[in-house]
Amino acid sequence: VSGFDFGALRDPVAPEPGPRERNGVDARARQLRARRLRNRVALSTGAVVVIAAIVLGAVGIRQDRGPEIAVPGSTSTTVTTPITAGPSVGDRFVPPTTEQHGLVVLAVTLPDGETFTMKYPPAMRIAQLGFAGSTGVVGFSGLSSRAVTISYTTVQHVYGDQAPIATYRDANGQPVPVLRAPEPPSSRGRAPVQLVFQFGHWLVQVDDGQEAMNPAQLSTWARNLTGSFDRSGYLMLHASPPLRVANWFDGGFGSLSEHGPDQIELASNLYCGQPGSDTSTRRRVVSAGEPAVTWCDGNLHVSATGASNFVALAATSLRVSPVP
């Protein structure tokens, strides 16, 4: 029909995947998970680090049910304020919670401003797992789009005293350095360079990977991406043309790069609403031997994995509802 003989283009002796292929996939998956962690703060085994609790006033931490933080002031602040750290675990932000009818109420704000509320039994301790993730920033007019990594740490902590490869200026004239990613060089060569923003205590890293940007493009990125914080302390990204913050987010609570620990993955506008994708029905899954439960709440994909009790509670008691 097409003039193409697709059959002739297929491999007549296609290899059967065996243990070698399976091991290769596992190894590559480990690399991909490690990349998520590559800039993350090293933690001593099992240590939970709560960074200085100074957030514009009173910060209270209740060990059993997690921090409850009162943050006075407007819903957002400008990005040029000095770095102040709220509670965190590793390089993840521990947001404030409240309590309602015996359930913990956790407000979540994604970088594009989308908000929702999670309610769960105190035993799940979701807020204390810490929040981080990545989102997309779309470029127009010849500017490439990028996924940006968002974590709760500082340039100094991640890059040490590394001298910038170049420095650009943000909308307020503050420096935005280009730094080499602190990961071991891959087999393909040197570690990628990153344009690095510091918005308060939030670190935003833009990989300048496969299709490297030229200085003019990097300068445009630096100038047009800004951040502010909502009253809970979450980062919201803002972009002015020719950039636009995409509506997708991939991240959540917990160390998503590791197997084993409790974690709640949240993915907005990525994995729901597609043919065959998850629905509001909670579905049990096994991945690499780990039990999990997954479902879609509107366009938000939610999955929980970890200890069996944690997964069971997520399956039965975790409620996610959008905030209009």
Partner: protein, 149 residues
């Protein structure tokens, strides 16, 4: 329960098959299959419900990326790349010219060889939409054949 291990072989073969049709290189196709399956494994909780079409989409995109990369790094038009038969080069050129949706339909319909109805179910659109995209995709393929040296 949806277990990655249980679906590994069929998904890997599907990813490899898509990549090979586009690339015609066993080693590169294995690389694409490995990358695709690794990405699926990392996202398994999110994509396991529709892993088949997801794998086709990702493997197809990765294969197209490799074609683009070849063109960039080797600095020669695809049809002059040695060792790839002419028909495959025409296919590569045509796929590069298609919109993502058209490419997806062409991949599922002609590369994976799914019936139109199944492509429609997979993509969540009507059979009519599949026919439209397939028709436009084929037109691009024919055009590519006409301009091929």
């Amino acid at each position: 329960l949806d277990d990655f291990d249980a679906e590994f072989e069929s998904l890997w073969s599907r990813a490899y098959g898509v990549a090979y049709v586009v690339l015609g290189d066993r080693s590169e196709s294995e690389d694409v299959a490995q990358e695709t399956l690794a990405r699926a494994l990392v996202r398994w909780r999110k994509v396991s419900a529709y892993a088949g079409p997801w794998v086709v989409r990702v493997a197809g995109n990765l294969a197209i990326d490799r074609v683009r990369q070849r063109q960039r790094t080797r600095g020669v038009p695809a049809h002059e790349v040695p060792g790839i038969d002419a028909q495959r080069v025409d296919l590569q050129r045509a796929l590069l010219a298609l919109s993502p949706k058209q490419r997806e339909v062409v991949m599922l319909r002609y590369v994976v060889d799914l019936p139109e109805a199944e492509v429609a179910t997979t993509l969540g659109c009507s059979v009519g939409t599949v026919k439209t995209h397939a028709s436009r995709g084929l037109a691009a393929l024919r055009k590519s054949l006409e301009v091929a040296p």
